[in-house]
Symmetry: C2
Subunit: 450 residues, 2 copies
């Protein structure tokens, strides 16, 4: 216990790939060097911090690939995360992985992530008639004019909207309209409403259009609608047509471009289907399937001892899969003439790096260790030192969340499309040098002999 | 903003089923009453706290059912959890759900959960020869005698063990033996070693038996072994036989009963298979599949407005599944003559409770609302008030984690076996009274008409 009291990280050095870099199976993401006891104490902490962050960041990047670059993606998974801290991690690393915003306001405050969201169904269903409105007036956007009876204005807009859309006004829900009015009075510049509390096409959308039209008459601009049930693609197309009809009829060009947001248990798969169908969706909110990573709910990063006192060491396992590659290693990414990465090469730490435009013999990872000779055009070392003898080196400031987010997108962008197919990606080659391969062979033989 | 500064929970009342109770789909787990704005602000917080806790608690209970009651279950999922807080929630609710201990030491400290664990492979592989041992002596358990050269004693024991087991001593790993010796010297009463760093049967187990035998000669008692790879059931049987041979040969009865612990990506399915095979496993460590709930990574509890100012309200959804049941409700569990629950009945809050041994007409939840008449022997109200006008009522102390854990086991135990089959459980019936059913029908009709 006396000894444990003195334990600190002053002799620990950590190098890592920059956060947000694309990496591949079996590569060391992070190298930790220091006194054995101290670095062993770090095992669970580092795994806990790296595993879920990498998993949800990767998942977010896959959602981004599935959605394409033109849709806005909102992370909204707090209610399905592993407690509040799990929710914060989910928000942070989803943003890094390519999402645009989060509904987690604390994550917005702590990490500077843009926050976004919309109204809950319970807000809409909490009001059952216009009589419940405590305030029904709104000042026009240009504040010089006096207050207007906004409810009355909206009701007259609704009559026109119903006529144009050929919807019986009697079928629109009065409580819903009152809720929309009360929200618009509070947030006239931020009017994005959930339209499926009652019937989407017979009530939600006509009521929305009426309020949006009334807002426009007072000089405001509505934002759009959110759908949380039903056939999202088809409804989005129907709603876009309604917006276009209103735009033309009421001569408001912006009306045609109102935002259509969707949610409702969106998965990578449903997002991909949506992208394949005709749709008019601009914003997608993703919760459960993003934060819990339903396609693969855990990432199996491990923390293994590879060298003690300059002697490489090795864990021979009953499961071939769990065997480690001995020795302290360096990882290089080799690019071809088009600037595309085509191979990641692990070398012993002390080996000279592979050189540009020179042949290098490689042993591909796999049961056979197939050999090949490659000529890289460009060679990059993947690791940087982020923590040296207990300190963050002064020349190595930790990047901001936005820098990391851009780095992740660049790193993904550099990679060939064939490796990014969500269903059948071509495996990217990871290999080792001849020296590392013979070390592995020797250590394996020695372990088996002993 | 001025108003938000004054917001508090002094008018909020929360009732809930006691933590650890078995509940069924569509039942209200919790009822929250208070000013609309305040209870709407609580939505995400409550869902975040209830969803994952219920999910992982349920998952732990399923692992307990799959393992049977005789095996010890250790939760060890921190490295795969959603950050540190996710890991703490996982430890806490896994224990409540029926696990025996956790490897998360902080969870042990914060919640009073027994902690358990074993040595890492990296500890074993960090030592490559007996020359590296800084200390090789051990005092016998009865401290009156002087220190013994424990390495020498172990080496002589290893010769005997190898002879008895007919294992060539040259195949045992010297570094592994040295690591076992150094650990035994530090923790002579807590000697549980991981035996698959090198070959389990040719090195790990003989080395373990040698150290265990040496410890015994000095008056200590070894604990057992841990396996983290290979065919766990078969290896456990082979190891048990070795322990029995040693027990007989060296005349140490306790040796036959040494503990065999296993880990390695244990799932509900692999645990069930293990239980069906011949095996000698005493302890199972579960990580990834427990905390990430791979079988179903999220639980879809929702928080819905059911009543405003004594008026029941209702969300009609495009998806039938997402429609709510209106009105403030009470839930009763109805037991049969054998004390087994057979039906949960939702009533309107103000309805008189169903009475023991009296007929009650029910409408079963489902698309058809099939009716039936039942006669309960015993009726229990499921909800209790845990928070009243901003206070925990003095007569309702929050139970300790161990009381909740026992309650969960009792609640599960009371349930008929047919509902607990892990693959094809018979659905348990949840129903509503005639009054609640007609309220639902009316509100639905009104919503559709409006």
């Amino acid at each position: 216990m006396d000894f444990l009291r003195t334990v600190n990280a002053s002799e620990v050095t950590v190098s890592s790939v920059p956060e947000g870099s694309v990496v591949f199976a079996k590569e060391p993401l992070m190298k930790v060097r220091g006194p054995l006891l101290v670095v062993q104490l770090l095992e669970t902490t580092l795994l806990c911090l790296v595993n879920y962050a990498s998993l949800v960041g990767t998942n977010a990047a896959r959602f981004r690939l599935a959605a394409g670059s033109d849709k806005k993606l909102i992370e909204m998974g707090l209610r399905r995360a592993q407690g509040c801290d799990g929710g914060l991690s989910a928000s942070k690393y989803s943003y890094m992985g390519g999402f645009d915003s989060t509904s987690n306001v604390l994550a917005g405050k702590l990490f500077g992530i843009p926050v976004a969201g919309s109204v809950a169904h319970s807000y809409v269903s909490s009001i059952s008639s216009p009589d419940e409105l405590k305030c029904r007036t709104l000042k026009p956007a240009n504040k010089q004019e006096g207050e207007v009876d906004f409810l009355l204005l909206t009701q007259s807009c609704l009559r026109k909207v119903c006529q144009v859309l050929k919807v019986p006004q009697a079928e629109t829900n009065l409580g819903e309209l009152a809720a929309f009015v009360s929200y618009a009075i509070a947030f006239p510049w931020n009017f994005l409403m959930v339209v499926d509390t009652y019937s989407v096409l017979m009530s939600g959308v006509p009521n929305f259009c009426a309020v949006a039209l009334a807002l426009h008459q007072l000089g405001y601009q509505a934002v759009g609608v959110r759908l949380d049930s039903g056939n999202l693609a088809r409804l989005s197309v129907q709603i876009r047509k309604i917006f276009q009809v209103c735009s033309k009829q009421f001569e408001i060009p912006e009306f045609a471009k109102l935002s259509i947001a969707v949610s409702n248990s969106i998965s990578e798969h449903s997002l991909k289907l949506l992208a394949q169908e005709e749709n008019e969706v601009n914003v997608v909110g993703v919760g459960t399937h993003l934060v819990t990573c339903t396609r693969q709910p855990s990432l199996g990063c491990v923390y293994k001892l590879v060298q003690v006192n300059d002697v490489p060491c090795f864990k021979l396992s009953e499961d071939e899969e769990k065997a480690t590659i001995p020795g302290s290693k360096t990882v290089y990414r080799l690019n071809d003439g088009n600037g595309r990465p085509f191979l990641d090469l692990m070398t012993l730490q002390d080996e000279p790096p592979p050189e540009s435009r020179k042949e290098v013999k490689i042993y591909k990872l796999g049961p056979e260790f197939e050999t090949d000779v490659v000529i890289p055009e460009q060679v990059t070392c993947l690791h940087r030192i982020y923590f040296k003898n207990g300190q963050v080196p002064s020349d190595q400031f930790l990047p901001s969340i936005n820098v990391t987010r851009s780095h992740a997108q660049r790193s993904l962008h550099s990679l060939g499309q064939e490796h990014k197919d969500l269903e059948n990606p071509r495996p990217y080659t990871v290999a080792m040098t001849e020296k590392l391969h013979s070390l592995l062979t020797n250590v394996k033989r020695t372990s088996l002999l002993q």
